[in-house]
């Protein structure tokens, strides 16, 4: 796999009825009156960039800047309102992790469930299960329902399943912040191994230290627009200056 990820002039528009009515009755009434008011919100505006294979791109920006939305485009979860997104290769998304789980089911059942969501068949999962449960260090909890897990434990489980997919592209949306230090170390080691094997990573984090430590390049989003894109230290410095000026 040696084609880059390409986003060409991509825009995303959320369209909300004013005050988010979500009601058929209102819709009919308003349609008759002839004014259905929508609030248009461009979460991303004319985004163009590329990620060469094997590179790790860090994405920074304030809350609501559009980082998760950008990752959703790359994970095929969303299609852009305008523009094109080309993602060659198998993607393993970790967007606001924990969403793929069912809290009534046991750890084991959830591993199979999330696995099947990510395209791992039962048979494959039978082979991978022991490695996954070992990676999480949660062997004793595999038969416990997930509602009895702590949030850090859930993150571990999710991370372990996602890396078992053997993806070519990994998407990490603020996942490394949750685990304890020992588990973080383990994840970092895995990421290093993944990159040596030529994997591509998109990494969103509010920890600028982590961005500086891992990423080849960085991208700064502000209100849906690219403010800066290039070598990591430069982008991070600009972003820090900006944060400083906002705080004043």
């Amino acid at each position: 796999m040696n084609l880059p990820i390409v986003l060409q002039d991509v825009s995303v528009r959320y369209r909300l009825p004013k005050e988010r009515v979500h009601s058929f009755k209102e819709f009919i009434i308003k349609s008759f009156k002839g004014h259905m008011e929508y609030e248009e919100f461009w979460a991303l505006k004319n985004i163009t960039f590329q990620v060469p294979p094997g590179e790790m791109l860090g994405i920074v920006g304030r809350n609501g800047a559009g980082k998760s939305t950008l990752l959703k485009l790359i994970a095929r979860v969303m299609k852009p309102t305008r523009g094109t997104v080309r993602v060659p290769g198998k993607v393993a998304p970790m967007i606001e992790l924990g969403g793929g789980f069912d809290h009534e089911l046991s750890g084991r059942e959830n591993v199979y469930l999330l696995g099947s969501i990510l395209g791992i068949s039962r048979r494959e999962m039978d082979k991978k299960f022991d490695a996954i449960s070992e990676f999480t260090e949660l062997e004793d909890f595999m038969e416990t329902p997930l509602r009895a897990y702590s949030s850090g434990m859930i993150t571990r489980l999710g991370f372990a399943v996602v890396i078992a997919v053997d993806p070519e592209i990994m998407i990490l949306d603020e996942v490394l912040a949750v685990g304890d230090t020992a588990f973080q170390e383990k994840c970092h080691a895995h990421i290093a191994k993944f990159r040596q094997a030529g994997g591509t990573i998109l990494f969103v984090s509010h920890s600028l230290d982590q961005i500086l430590k891992f990423c080849d390049r960085a991208l700064w989003l502000e209100r849906g627009e690219i403010r800066s894109w290039g070598d990591t230290p430069g982008v991070v410095r600009q972003y820090e200056n900006f944060l400083g000026s906002v705080a004043d």
């Binding site: 959320y14 009601s23 058929f24 959703k72 979860v77 998304p93 199979y112 969501i117």
Partner: protein, 259 residues
């Protein structure tokens, strides 16, 4: 387009399997009662309806039970599948908002697990059949055909409802209110011959009428349903499936924008 969607569903067959298992475990595993309930509940209903209606309509009690159960269980399959489907996309929003999943899979898994419930719910009916003197006829072998019609019709309506509910949440409640009169406009608790001739056309505008008739006839009458009824059942099932599918696929890519 259709071909792509089907290959995609095959690709995700393990997920489909898991979703069905999840539905069923939530329903049955947590209590053995859940398992018996799915058989007991219709039986209790049958007793109540039998007491009320078999006297009003001068139906023999034995006949009434078979007549009622064969229609009611199929209706329940339809009603429960469509109601569950109407919120299945909203419930699974947190999931497909993070990971790509073909959305149709949620609707299809809902219908499949309800199909499983139906097969459990039919057990009491088939046990009662010889006891109440109806016996087994070869015509029962025809049942998969009306069952297929029922599934097609149900999937179509489920597609339509689940997609609409993303944009208008109140459709879910409106639909449930609407189901009640709809059931009474389908001959389930009353025999067709008590309906005055001039109102018969109202029933005939109801698509579920043909599907229920098609399903009940082989059980209750012990013979194949009329060809005309079958054709009309096939027609309404196909139209429902087609419209549901087209609407669903047209909007499927935008669901995630509204979750």
């Amino acid at each position: 387009m259709l071909k792509e969607n089907i290959t995609e569903l095959i690709q995700f067959k393990d997920l489909l399997h898991n979703l069905v298992i999840r539905d069923l475990t939530v329903r049955y595993k947590r209590s053995m009662l859940g398992f018996f309930w799915s058989m007991l509940n219709p039986l209790l209903n049958t007793i109540v309806f039998t007491i009320i209606f078999s006297t009003i309509f001068r139906f023999g009690v034995k006949s009434f039970i078979i007549y009622f159960l064969s229609g009611y269980q199929l209706w329940n399959f339809f009603a429960q599948s469509t109601v569950a489907s109407s919120h299945c996309l909203l419930n699974n929003g947190p999931l497909f908002k993070r990971i790509y999943i073909p959305k149709a899979i949620f609707v299809i898994s809902t219908v499949i697990s309800n199909l499983f419930n139906l097969s459990l719910a039919l057990i009491p009916l088939f046990i009662l059949l010889p006891i109440l003197g109806k016996g087994f006829h070869l015509s029962l072998l025809f049942l998969p055909v009306p069952l297929l019609f029922a599934v097609m019709f149900t999937v179509g309506i489920s597609f339509l409802l689940s997609a609409t509910a993303i944009f208008f949440h109140d459709i879910i409640d409106m639909y449930q209110i609407f189901l009640m009169p709809w059931m009474y406009l389908t001959p389930i608790v009353y025999p067709l011959d008590i309906v005055p001739k001039k109102f018969l056309f109202v029933l005939k505008l109801n698509p579920m009428f043909y599907i229920v008739e098609c399903f009940r006839w082989p059980i209750f009458m012990g013979e194949l349903p009329h060809l005309e009824t079958c054709c009309l059942a096939l027609l309404v099932a196909t139209v429902s499936l087609l419209i549901g599918y087209l609407v669903f696929t047209k909007y499927a890519d935008t669901f995630v924008y509204y979750i």
